[in-house]
């Protein structure tokens, strides 16, 4: 390539780079630039703003990484949400570790099971007072102000994810109010999400990083990339509840 050609190529490159930079700074409307639009959408909601349905929070649990007998996620959940960690039939359990064994091959698998945060939650369908509801960002919650403790939702849940509080409590965490006479379940650490944090207590505590928390609607998020790469299953997929908690390696 001659010297003239080289300089021409260099000039063209500079022009392209400049145009790209200019495009990024283009004003779409007064005060709104393309860069800002790209950064704003579809991003998760900010603290202090109402939650948006552009986001769908979920978990991906990799049973290949989950260690048999390890209870770290359960313990972290108990600490975060002020549960006493007892496992009598009348105690609250937000996460349970489940050990599976294929009787023919003898293959073992282990995974935590919690509220699956269904897109079509049966607990919401049956609630007579509207206390059981799904937030715009996909988190299924109980509004304890309207819960009358009838426990229909506990019967409707195919995952046995909900618990009823039988006894008076005094040791609640300030950010996780709980009380006698209400049904409760995993909140996906909603108080953390609303503060702007992007992890749950269980995902943070997992020593093997078997639990990934993230936005299933954002194709760039780690959870979405993993779901696109690896075969994942939803528990009781036959019920077509479209769960927000997905499992790999079951």
């Amino acid at each position: 390539m001659s010297e003239v050609d080289k300089s021409r190529v260099a000039a063209r490159r500079a022009l392209v780079a400049g145009a790209a930079a200019a495009m990024a700074g283009v004003l779409l409307a007064p005060g709104i630039r393309l860069v800002e639009v790209a950064r704003a959408a579809p991003g998760p909601n900010k603290p202090g703003e109402p939650v948006s349905s552009k986001v769908r929070w979920g978990l991906l649990i990799d049973a290949n990484l989950c260690t048999e007998g390890c209870q770290e996620c359960v313990l972290a959940c108990n600490r975060e949400n002020g549960l006493d960690g007892r496992t009598r039939p009348t105690d609250s359990q937000w996460i349970r570790k489940v050990e599976l064994k294929d009787l023919r091959s003898g293959r073992k698998a282990s995974a935590p099971v919690m509220c699956q945060h269904c897109a079509e939650p049966p607990c919401v369908d049956v609630c007579p007072t509207g206390a059981s509801f799904k937030r715009a960002d996909g988190i299924v919650l109980v509004d304890r102000h309207t819960c009358i403790g009838c426990r229909y939702c506990m019967m409707a849940c195919p995952y046995k994810a909900r618990s009823f509080i039988h006894e008076t409590l005094t040791t609640q965490k300030p950010e996780v109010p709980r009380g006698k006479g209400c049904v409760e379940s995993c909140t996906l650490c909603v108080h953390r999400i609303d503060r702007g944090e992007r992890t749950t207590a269980c995902a943070q505590a997992c020593p093997t990083k078997a639990i990934i928390f993230g936005d299933l609607n954002d194709p760039e998020s780690e959870i979405s990339r993993r779901v696109a790469q690896v075969k994942t299953t939803q528990l009781r997929a036959d019920l077509r509840l479209n769960t927000g908690v997905r499992y790999a390696g079951l």
Binding site: P47, R135, A136, H145, K173, P174
Partner: protein, 129 residues
Amino acid sequence: MNRRLLAAACLAVAVLAGAAQAEGSRVPQPKFSVDTSTQCVAPPEEMRRTHMDLLKHRRDRTVHQGVRGGDESLTRCIACHASKTDGAAIGAPDAFCQSCHAYVGVKLDCFECHQGRPGAAAKMSARSP
């Protein structure tokens, strides 16, 4: 001039009489120990009548829309109104919420579920402007 002096004297007498009546009143008043060095989100007269409406309005936005914090959240209430003696808004005769609710005979349901003591997070949010 004389009339103005008389009016001032009358006012002074009225103020003194008012003060004496408040001090030696036979009507029992609720007693509580809280830090009164800072100003609440609204004047006390207004808060006495409307605090429940402020809290009820807030709670649905918090639970359903995830809008937390702000001046009218229950954690902010407790952060300031926790008792100086045992650090809780309930559970003691001089606790702020409990003493007044007992005085007016109104059931206090919030703390069946909510924690009446400020946590580390509540303390931090109280300090920030």
